[in-house]
């Protein structure tokens, strides 16, 4: 292991207030540590530029799940295992549950957290496309107070977010799907488990009287940040289900994504497969609503 363990400091605050006070008092010094599943990999490789960690794991304020009529609010420390085992989430938010299932291995799922996944800011993370389909909002809190940020505005660039150094992610809120809806999630990672996505596609659609009234399409690993495919969404929303122009939607998707070549895949593969999976999801969507009609 190349990580410099002896030089590290780990502070474990007694409360959320204590954590926020420290972040405000020593700005930029302390790196929040939740499950550690993202941080420990570069740490072991000697590539993590931080030595001082604020250990959030024990903060009960950041756990739990609240259910209201319109929304579900998840504590930032909700683990992938908690998410995939929750029966209401399984029923109403299949995309989120599936993305929790395909993140890392069981040990990672027991330890990795939703808040950590967002704060880490990887464009290849598995939960962001799902969160984008459910209109997620993120609560950021500092000693000065808290604010809610639409998740689609949360990432500002590769591994960059709107978070201020003194803020923590405390909650993630997702809107409960209503009416006649369709969910789709597919991660393409070449192997079934323990893979980082080459392309990840999630979608949510709601139909009223044969017309798509809501359509959200989230993608991972195809741009510097997890993205909503706005061009495709605008094209699909308002359409009568049976008249969807799938080929046109595939072409429009190219406006929404900016994939690159890297060690895991090629830009061409990502473009081609993102379009193919979009085609698959739209076909399945049409079939689904036809069956419901």
């Amino acid at each position: 292991m190349k990580g410099q363990a002896p030089g590290c400091r780990v502070h474990t605050p007694a409360s959320l207030a204590g954590a926020l006070e420290l972040l405000a008092a020593e700005k930029g010094v302390w790196r929040p540590l939740a499950g550690g599943t993202d941080l420990m990999v570069p740490f072991a490789a000697g590539k993590l530029p931080f030595m001082d960690f604020l250990n959030l794991w024990g903060l009960e304020e950041l756990r739990g799940l609240e259910i209201s009529e319109d929304a579900i609010t998840l504590g930032a420390l909700s683990t992938y295992s908690e998410i995939r085992n929750h029966s209401l989430l399984q029923r109403e938010f299949p995309n989120l549950v599936q993305s929790a299932w395909v993140t890392g291995a069981i040990a990672i799922q027991n330890r990795g957290t939703l808040g950590g996944n967002l704060a880490n800011g990887s464009p290849a993370a598995d939960t962001p496309p799902s969160l984008l389909t459910y209109g997620a909002e993120v609560q950021l809190q500092s000693i000065a107070g808290s604010r809610w940020v639409p998740y689609e505005n949360f990432h500002t660039g590769y591994k960059q977010t709107v978070m201020l150094p003194e803020e923590l992610i405390t909650r993630i809120r997702i809107r409960r799907p209503k009416g006649n809806n369709f969910h789709f999630f597919r991660k393409v990672g070449t192997r079934k488990a323990q893979a980082i996505a080459k392309v990840c596609v999630a979608a949510y659609a709601r139909v009223e009287e044969g017309r798509v009234v809501e359509f959200r399409l989230g993608l991972g690993s195809v741009a510097p940040v997890p993205v909503r495919a706005r061009t495709v969404e605008l094209m699909v929303e308002g359409c009568v289900v049976d008249t969807l122009l799938i080929a046109a939607a595939r072409t429009a998707l190219m406006e929404d994504i900016r994939p690159i070549d890297d060690i895991r895949s090629t830009a061409k593969y990502r473009r081609t497969v993102a379009a193919n999976v979009l085609g698959q999801l739209l076909e399945e969507m049409v079939e689904h609503f036809d069956r419901m009609a």
Binding site: G46, K192, R264, R271, V273, N276, Q280
Partner: protein, 745 residues
């Protein structure tokens, strides 16, 4: 004949309990007084001249043991086939990750900071990174012409056939590098002082390390002692490389005044710096008559050896000999070349050249079947070797061999014929999911190639000790494949005693004779036979001494061992390899009996291809083989399953991503080996045909399963997609996309 007590029965692993309870002692578990940790500073560039070494600020350099090429007391080159690979760079850098400087300190965290603080001043030279560029001598980086080894196998008159043949089928096939990915990365501990050098390590071949250390330090045989610790896998990756690490640790220890030095690679260092399977390119020109009889085979087989020779000539030799596949062909020419490039040296990996050339020929047979409009089964059956036929080297098949039967039975297990028919129809629909079935027929030569075993003249033995047990004395190591259990079964059988009466001595060059390296599917068939003979000798000695009246049980046997030792002081028996009389090999002409025997197999696979994502999923896999007599069914099945899993990765996903001669994906996250979630149920079947010269009738088994999966899978993809174009492995989704949608932006 008496019923076997142990052979043919699934006895539990001798060291299994210690491994699963964590009691087994691996190299990194060793604690020693005054131990220093060692680290290696490596070149970031693939080719250049070392101009200087700068030691950065903020590190107490006076506390460090620092070794450079100037500190080497003896031969600065690793003693193997050629002495061309330096332990440390003196001035010329020939590959990225090449070791330049060694550091040791008792604080391993400070050691890492120091490693990062060393700056190498290198004048970069243009690197040679491609096999074809090397063949074309775009740069000359080794010898006069980059050629490590060239050989020619010729039979009949190949060039007399082309003009009159009904069909000529040509093809080019490529295979990539592959990482061994043993569970335990490389590691070693060394003590070098006035008395000599002692090494403890994770390694396959104690006497290879012994030879290299002797020459590095100018020492005699008995001044060097190599001890194998519990080893978490090798697959060839710990065949030659441990010599280099052991040399590094010993050089540091010498400079540290004899304090023990431990070097343990982490996964990334192990993946980027140590050897991998040789990438290859095979061009095949073949001629068939109107009925599909193979008239001529002209093969041009080339492999990329990386920066130094290491084991490359032997890999080339095995690859070339297997290149013609299990076919009868009167006119064959195999031109084989191994060349240098500026990548880290490629080395031994399960299969050792054969997976590369067998991929080419077995893929080519399906390409040829498509071109001839023939069924791939019928085409092969017309040409498969049978008893009395000769191989490409002119070796006459003298044993009973029923390859068409092996083929039929494997296909029957897969339900190949009806599935093929069914998918031919269903694949015509526009649905994005296509299904296919495919297979490969192949063989693997058991033991060393050609005169290898004769030159080795291996010795193994058994020893009765004061605890009343008999210990196997061999340098052949347990690396997860079951050697301890197999040796114990063979010896317990020969002595007619329970398994508990037999133990395997820790491979330690001060204790065990040189039974040769743990390679080439030879440990069971060759060394197992020596151990069996030695055990029979020991039993005879005991019986003739009158101390072991027959019949006896385990307790009586132990009493007899103890009594013998009290009376005579020592109870040992050895056996040495001698070449079977009918084996003749000409190493100049590459003619004759390349191997004493072969294991034979047909592997069949069913795949599902998703044409939206270009992913290939293995749905079913049948591995049917003839390996002589199976000594331990559970261990043998495990060997086959593991080899098939490795072969599936080789064929579909395990891609080494190179960036200017460096491995860019040296993490298990990004190097895509199959997990259990990606593997089908691997169905293993054995056809038993006892081999007269193996212990209990056994042949070699270790490498065989690596050879068949890749061609079987790509043949199945050919069936699923109706294109013969997939000819390169790994067939990643990106590659398959380029084949199916080449023009797509």
């Amino acid at each position: 004949m008496t019923q076997p007590l142990h052979l043919g029965h699934s006895r539990p692993r001798k060291e299994g309990r210690a491994k699963v309870t964590g009691a087994a002692h691996y190299t990194d578990d060793v604690r020693m007084e005054g131990l220093l940790h060692g680290a290696t500073v490596r070149s970031p560039v693939p080719r250049g001249i070392l101009r200087g070494i700068q030691f950065g600020d903020g590190i107490p350099w006076n506390e460090f043991v620092i070794v450079t090429a100037k500190d080497v007391p003896g031969d600065p080159m690793v003693a193997l086939i050629e002495h061309d690979q330096p332990f440390l760079v003196a001035d010329r850098i020939n590959h990225a990750e090449e070791a330049v400087l060694l550091l040791a300190h008792e604080d391993r965290f400070l050691l890492e900071r120091a490693r990062a603080a060393v700056r190498l001043e290198i004048e970069a030279l243009p690197p040679l990174l491609d096999l074809e560029d090397s063949l074309a001598c775009k740069e000359v980086v080794w010898g006069q012409d980059n050629l490590f080894k060239e050989l020619l196998i010729e039979k009949g008159e190949v060039d007399s056939v082309w003009k009159t043949a009904a069909h000529i089928v040509e093809g080019e096939y490529r295979t990539g590098a592959q990482e061994q990915l043993y569970i335990e990365p490389n590691g070693t501990i060394a003590v070098a002082d006035a008395g000599g050098v002692t090494v403890w390590g994770s390694l396959q071949c104690p006497y290879y390390v012994h030879k290299a250390i002797k020459s590095l330090f100018n020492l005699s045989d008995d001044q060097v002692r190599i001890i194998q610790m519990e080893t978490g896998g090798g697959f060839g990756g710990k065949e030659d490389y441990p010599s280099l690490i052991a040399g590094h640790a010993a050089l540091l220890s010498m400079k540290a005044g004899g304090r023990p030095v431990k070097i343990i690679y982490d996964r990334e260092e192990d993946m980027v710096a140590t050897t991998k399977r040789h990438p290859s390119r095979t061009r095949i020109r073949s001629a068939f008559d109107t009925e599909g009889t193979l008239l001529a085979l002209d093969l041009d087989f080339a492999i990329d050896g990386g920066a130094y020779v290491t084991l490359t000539p032997v890999v080339l030799s095995r690859g070339a000999i297997h290149a013609g596949g299990p076919y009868r062909c009167a006119n064959t020419r195999i031109h084989a070349r191994a060349v240098a490039t500026n990548t880290p040296p490629h080395g031994a990996f399960r299969g050792f050249g054969a997976p590369q050339s067998l991929f080419a020929i077995e893929r080519h047979m399906d390409v040829a079947a498509a071109q001839l409009g023939m069924d791939p089964i019928a085409l092969r059956k017309r040409n498969l070797l049978k008893m009395g036929d000769t191989t490409a080297t002119g070796q006459i098949i003298k044993e009973t061999l029923d390859l068409p039967g092996i083929l039929d039975r494997a296909l029957e297990k897969l339900d190949y014929v009806s599935k093929k028919h069914q998918y031919d129809i269903t694949n015509r629909a526009s649905a994005p999911i296509k299904k296919g079935v495919g297979f490969a027929v192949f063989m693997h030569g058991c033991g060393f190639t050609g005169a290898g075993e004769t030159y080795l003249a291996s010795v193994a033995g058994v020893e009765g000790r004061s605890d009343g047990k008999v210990y196997v004395l061999a340098a052949s190591t347990e690396i997860g494949q079951g050697t301890n259990t197999m040796f114990s079964q063979v010896v317990a059988e020969a002595l007619r005693v329970p398994m508990e009466c037999v133990e395997v001595a820790q491979p330690d060059t001060a204790v065990v004779p040189n039974s040769g390296p743990t390679v080439a599917s030879r440990t069971c068939m060759v060394v197992g036979k020596l151990v069996q003979d030695a055990a029979q000798g020991l039993r005879q000695t005991l019986v003739q001494s009158g101390l072991l009246p027959e019949p006896y049980d385990g307790e009586a046997f132990s009493r007899a061992v103890k009594a013998y030792l009290e009376k005579f002081g020592r109870l040992k028996a050895y056996s040495q390899y001698s070449t079977p009389p009918h084996i003749v090999w000409d190493d100049q002409l590459y003619k004759g009996d390349a191997y004493t025997t072969f294991a034979w197999a047909c592997y069949a696979a069913e795949v599902i291809v998703d044409t939206r994502t270009f992913e290939v999923k293995v749905e079913d896999f049948v591995a049917l083989q003839e390996v002589g007599r199976v000594l331990n069914p559970v261990l043998a099945e495990g060997q086959i399953e593991g080899g098939v899993a490795q072969g599936i990765g080789y064929g579909l996903s395990e891609q080494v991503v190179w960036n200017n001669g460096r491995m860019a994906n040296g993490q298990m996250t990004n190097y895509i080996m199959a997990t259990s979630a990606d593997l089908p149920r691997i169905r293993v079947y054995f056809e038993e045909n006892p081999y007269a010269l193996g212990p209990g009738g056994a042949k070699g088994i270790g490498e065989l399963p690596m050879d068949g999966p890749a061609p079987a899978l790509l043949n199945a993809v050919q069936h699923a997609l109706g294109t013969t174009l997939p000819r390169e492995i790994p067939l990643t989704p990106e590659r398959l996309m380029e084949i199916l949608e080449p023009s797509n932006a």
